[in-house]
């Protein structure tokens, strides 16, 4: 599937009802190589390629390289979709980089709910985020919709208590 084949940038939260317009539009725009489980309440998609199945996270971000405005506005939606959002290599259960893993472990130790996105799965998102946050590397942690920092900043803030303070403010707002 080429990036150009994807029509638009969208973020869809899978929900229990297919009456949700976002879900319907996702279905109609879906490339043929996606197959949905029959149970629409399922929170995961199974993408079938000719060689193997890949289970995707509950949040699907599809990006096209065409429109910068759309890319930005979709990233806006993604970073505001949860209080704590982490763009990383791998996911919270299987980090694929030491720096990403450090941030995941810090967040887990603070018992704060957070959503992760694997930037290795989507190159347009990966490049788009670098411009969006003016930050060249991953992981990238967003708290309450605002870019907080990468691994070094998160670690330093965790050690001096700033991270905990920031998270508390975000959770209470």
């Amino acid at each position: 599937m080429t990036i150009a084949a994807v029509a638009s940038l969208s973020v869809v939260r899978l929900c229990s009802s297919t009456r949700n317009p976002a879900y319907s539009s996702f279905i109609t725009a879906t490339p043929r190589n996606f197959r949905f489980p029959k149970d629409s309440r399922s929170l995961s998609l199974v993408r079938v390629s000719s060689t193997h199945k890949i289970r995707l996270s509950p949040y699907i971000v599809r990006c096209s390289a065409t429109q910068d405005g759309e890319l930005k506005s979709t990233i806006d939606k993604v970073v505001n979709s949860e209080k704590v959002v982490l763009f990383m290599k791998g996911n919270k259960d299987f980090p694929q980089c030491g720096f990403s893993n450090t941030v995941v472990q810090i967040l887990k130790s603070l018992n704060v709910p957070f959503q992760t996105f694997d930037i290795l799965e989507n190159n347009v998102l990966r490049q788009g985020l670098k411009e969006y946050s003016s930050w060249p590397t991953f992981p990238q942690l967003y708290i309450d919709g605002e870019f907080f920092g990468g691994c070094d900043i998160t670690l330093e803030a965790y050690q001096n208590g700033d991270l905990q303070e920031c998270l508390e403010k975000a959770m209470c707002s």
């Binding site: 003016s134 930050w135 060249p136 907080f148 691994c151 070094d152 900043i153 700033d162």
Partner: protein, 89 residues
């Protein structure tokens, strides 16, 4: 060819005029990843994220080739507390 430690040191020295700078190539000489400690008056009044952004901006061209950059310290001279060396008699 990756970026060399000397390249990184040179760029940061001319951009940030640091009073202390330590660059370690953590990729075993491949120039793929570096650890940096930098102390500069230019960081005065800047928050943590901004200070890191300043270092990233100075190395913007090199970042295209560097895989990972770890900024261990980016502080003003007043906040810099090096591990004291043993006093020689």
């Amino acid at each position: 060819m990756g970026v060399s430690k000397e390249d990184v040191e040179g760029i940061l020295t001319s951009a940030m005029k640091p009073t202390h700078l330590q660059v370690v190539d953590t990729s075993g000489g491949c120039g793929a990843s570096f650890e940096i400690e930098i102390v500069s008056e230019q960081f005065e009044g800047k928050k943590l994220l901004e200070r890191h952004r300043m270092v990233n901006a100075a190395l913007a061209e090199q970042m295209k080739e560097i895989h990972a950059l770890s900024i261990k310290k980016a502080v003003t001279p007043s906040k810099w507390n090096p591990i004291p060396k043993v006093q020689e008699e």
